[in-house]
């Protein structure tokens, strides 16, 4: 080909028209993929040397880019991203960079641009780069090609990846993982049988099997689910606990996808994972959450079952999930179970009940305010402002301050945070007066001081019109 250029130049002289040269290059470029695919169809090819095309200045500057050189050629190329009219020329230029004897940096930059603007014409070029990387080239080329092949919206990209993944048994593990990940990102269902085989640790390295499992997690539908489920037993038998855990994690991911189609199917998956003691706690908790979220009002029963059961690893997650139940669900079903919970769980329950804000939640929090257990009492004091406030709640808070001086500051903060309401303020004033006049006896001076502070802070924070409030008190 070099000879051909020389001959042409001799024939047309030094003023050989640049435009003719570009058109000629475009023609050569368009037939290149076909030539390459023909060569690559034979299994004897183990390495490819990229064909040499004559370069114009621009192409040379782009292709020879390394970190220590000027970024200008690439800055110009990236500028074209904003102008769709320039895309065909940009695409051609980028494919030429890939085809050229370019640096890995240049090929990577070209792939990143092609991932954004590439048409289906780009796919064979990327396929060639992938093959080049797999058979003697650098891992970087595989990564660059996969970057674009994962992003472009053409079915041919998945075909290339599948085909090369099947063929490249001897390629490095990192390169194969990169292709698996790209197929996973594409959600390519046709690769399910291949990935299903790769997910088996008896035939593949754990890293490869993990990548295959995670890729399967991106594919919805029963085939992908079967492939992962099938891998569980085999990986369990071969003692690959890590892969079994990932298998469950992936099934959970698939359940989310299936949720959109058939609600019962995903409930079966969630239930199965939730009940399996072999599964790590984080995954079981996630399954429980999925089950509760997909069950609507029936979520109450799932939570109650966990709270009544002996499985302590799920109880905290079940209590936290109460906050996610639909608004109309009463808290009574949970407050009845308080005595069955550990102290820590009771504390969490008080915090969660604050989000329910019904009469049962209010009563439970008031009960906790009367508790002798500091942690539980503190949780109730902190939760009180989130609940509907009545005189009883305020009286209970005041009692905490009276009985437990060490809780006084906490109570003051909660009283300040109580909702802006005239009744609340009037009631607090009434209580203050009672302490002042001696009708209420215990720790009179401290209570007067604290209640005065509460009322002053509430007045400044809740002022309606500018100027009616003391800035001094606000900054105290």
């Amino acid at each position: 080909m070099e000879n051909f250029y020389k001959t042409t130049q001799e024939k047309f002289g030094p003023r050989w028209n640049k435009r003719i040269r570009e058109v000629f290059l475009a023609v050569i470029l368009s037939i290149c993929p076909a030539v390459w695919s023909q060569n690559l169809s034979t299994d004897t090819v183990t390495s490819i040397s990229l064909p040499f095309l004559e370069m114009d200045e621009k192409l040379t500057a782009l292709s020879t880019y390394t970190l220590d050189k000027s970024f200008q050629p690439w800055a110009e190329a990236e500028k074209s991203l904003g102008n769709e009219a320039e895309f065909p020329a940009l695409e051609m230029l980028m494919t030429r960079v890939i085809n050229n004897q370019s640096t890995p940096e240049a090929r990577n930059r070209a792939c990143k641009i092609l991932a954004i603007i590439g048409t289906d014409q780009t796919v064979p070029i990327l396929g060639n780069l992938l093959r080049y990387g797999l058979r003697g080239g650098e891992l970087r080329d595989v990564e660059s090609a996969c970057y674009a092949l994962a992003a472009l919206p053409y079915a041919e990209c998945a075909e290339v990846l599948r085909e090369e993944l099947e063929k490249s048994q001897t390629a490095s593990e990192s390169a194969r993982i990169q292709m698996i990940n790209a197929l996973g990102s594409r959600g390519d269902r046709e690769s399910i049988p291949l990935l299903g085989q790769m997910a088996l640790s008896t035939k593949n390295s754990p890293a490869l099997a993990e990548a295959a499992l995670r890729a399967l997690g991106q594919m919805s539908g029963p085939e992908a689910l079967d492939a992962v489920t099938g891998s569980l037993t085999e990986n369990m038998n071969s003692g690959q606990e890590h892969l079994v855990e990932i298998g469950y994690e992936v099934i959970l991911n698939q359940a989310v996808t299936i949720q959109r189609d058939t609600i019962n199917y995903n409930a079966v998956i969630y239930e199965g994972i939730k009940n399996s003691k072999a599964v790590p706690a984080a995954i079981r908790r996630s399954a429980l959450l999925g089950l509760i979220r997909s069950a609507g009002d029936r979520g109450v029963q799932y939570i109650r079952d966990i709270l009544l059961g002996e499985d302590s690893s799920l109880k905290s997650a079940a209590i936290a999930a109460i906050a996610e139940l639909p608004c109309g669900v009463s808290s009574s079903g949970f407050t009845q179970l308080m005595s069955r919970l550990t102290e820590k769980e009771q504390v969490l329950m008080i915090y969660v009940l604050a989000s329910r804000a019904d009469v049962f939640a209010v009563n439970e929090v008031i009960k906790a305010l009367e508790s002798e257990r500091k942690e539980l009492r503190a949780a109730a004091v902190k939760s009180a402002p989130s609940l509907p406030i009545g005189a009883k709640m305020i009286r209970s808070l005041i009692s905490v301050m009276e009985l437990y001086p060490s809780d006084a500051d906490l109570v003051v903060r909660s009283l300040i945070r109580l909702p802006e309401d005239e009744m609340v303020d009037l009631y607090l004033k009434k209580l203050l007066d009672e302490y002042k006049t001696g009708q209420k006896g215990k720790k009179k001076e401290i209570m007067v001081e604290k209640l005065t502070l509460v009322l002053s802070e509430r007045a400044s924070a809740g002022a309606d019109a500018p100027g009616s409030v003391s800035a001094e008190s606000f900054s105290k």
Binding site: E78, Y351, A471
Partner: protein, 449 residues
């Protein structure tokens, strides 16, 4: 001869066993003494006395990425009595050792676990939550792995490398019930809480415009690749970002100015201000519907980096609220201003000065506090939420929206046109911009499953 040799061996064996026994006795006695002395020399706080929390009751935290940011906030973590820093991870050995030494010094023991790979940290028992500060190329990926491992997350901004990754963070946190606090600590600052209250209470009328000024960006020149410093796992440091050889300026902060690894000042400080815009306006759960931007990029003949030195961006929310980001001037001139139908509020961040019209609003202004105090309040909020399972003030949804808004602004600048966003479909009304939302991770890293 044979007999004497056997006798010698027997004696030798007996002697050795006596020596060992003596040594064992000594060791035993020493241990007894130490055990007896133990309670006398252990600080009361370790036992949970003096108002502190016993280690077993503390929230176990692991630090993922001990860079400058983590180092600067370490004291705030150590100051909280109800958390215990149990592990530190960094793929740069010197940073990992520095972190663990400082933690051990504080607790007076050698218990801090050191790991180069954060996956090993996540597998340790006793880690309830993680603090992630690994830079934009890593924060999202590490968040996904942490959530899958059942850990709660405090993640520094920018929280993800791509818009797609941000979406995955949000989805995974939801699926695993993760307590997620974005590192937008200004939400816990009294000054911004005051601004928010004033605006939410309608004291300047309907909010019409938010203008944010961040400082000018930097740039780095082309560099010759060098050998990776000893103790630095360069492949791990790069993570999912495209491979490039080690160059010192890039590795030491310059990565912030390359599209492959970050998004310039917009994703650095910009995400913090965008976060304030959406939070103060009460628009945490939606994105602006229109983005545009222009800027001055570094001269590519001189510089290797790509992100803008200066820039002007604007956006519009569905309710008509307009946002403007100005990247210009110096660090000390950073500010935010909120303009409503009946007044305005302006915060000059550097001085902490707040101005408003009507001026009377300022009488409600709380006392100024330091950045450290605001960060500590933000961290406190996170730890409280880990205990109570409530959503923190910077939850994953709001953090993701802030991140995506910053990315969208960068896309508008790079493409040189106005981009429109569809809040229902969660995508741009622009084919090219939609393709820019996704970056396939390198190095075998995967957000999948």
């Amino acid at each position: 001869m044979g007999y004497s040799f056997r006798a010698f061996m027997k004696k030798e064996i007996k002697r050795k066993s006596i020596c060992t026994e003596t040594k064992n006795r000594r060791t035993f006695l020493k241990q007894i003494l130490l055990m007896a002395a133990g309670p006398m020399i252990v600080a009361p706080s370790v036992l949970g006395k003096g108002g502190s929390v016993a280690p077993s009751e503390r929230v176990g935290v692991g630090i993922i990425g001990f860079g400058e940011r983590a180092e600067s906030v370490l004291e705030s973590f150590l100051a909280l009595p109800d958390i215990q820093l149990r592990a530190v991870c960094d793929c740069r050995q010197s940073r990992m050792l520095l972190g663990s030494e400082r933690i051990n010094r504080h607790y007076g023991n050698k218990d801090c676990i050191k790991k180069e790979d954060f996956r090993e940290l996540l597998a340790q028992p006793g880690i309830d939550a993680v603090y992630i500060a690994m830079g934009m190329r890593w924060n999202g990926m590490a968040s996904v792995y942490s959530a899958r491992a059942g850990k709660d997350i405090y993640c520094e901004t920018p929280i993800s490398l791509s818009m797609h990754e941000a979406n995955v963070v949000r989805e995974v946190c939801k699926r695993y019930g993760t307590i997620y606090q974005g590192g937008t600590w200004r939400r816990s600052s009294k000054v911004y809480q005051f601004v928010r209250r004033m605006i939410q209470e309608g004291r300047i009328g309907k909010l019409q415009k938010v203008e944010m000024q961040i400082w000018s960006g930097g740039a780095i020149v082309p560099e010759t690749p060098q050998e990776v410093p000893t103790g630095w796992n360069w492949d791990m440091w790069l993570g999912q970002a495209p491979w490039r050889d080690y160059t010192p300026a890039f590795a030491n902060g310059g990565w912030n100015y390359f599209w492959d690894t970050a998004g310039g000042m917009m994703t650095d400080i910009g995400t913090h201000y965008i976060d304030l815009m959406q939070w103060i306006a009460g628009l945490d759960y939606e994105m602006p519907i229109e983005f545009s931007g222009t800027g001055e990029l570094p001269d590519p003949r001189l510089f290797a980096s790509q992100t803008p030195l200066t820039g002007e961006w604007s956006c519009r929310y569905d309710d008509g609220l307009e946002g403007g980001m100005h990247q210009r001037d110096e660090f000390a001139k950073r500010s935010l201003s909120f303009t409503g139908e009946e007044g305005w509020i302006r915060v000059a961040e550097h001085t902490g000065e707040v101005l408003s019209a009507p001026e009377s609003l300022l009488r409600l202004r709380p006392a100024a506090e330091t950045e450290k105090e605001s960060f500590e309040a933000h961290l406190r909020d996170f730890i409280n939420c880990v205990r109570t399972r409530r959503h923190p003030v910077s939850d994953s949804i709001s953090a993701v929206n802030g991140m995506r808004t910053a990315q969208a602004w960068n896309f508008a600048l790079r493409l040189g046109r106005t981009l429109r966003w569809d809040n229902v479909g969660n995508r741009f009304k622009d084919v090219v911009a939609n393709r820019m939302m996704y970056c396939q991770p390198r190095g075998g890293w995967s957000l999948q499953g």
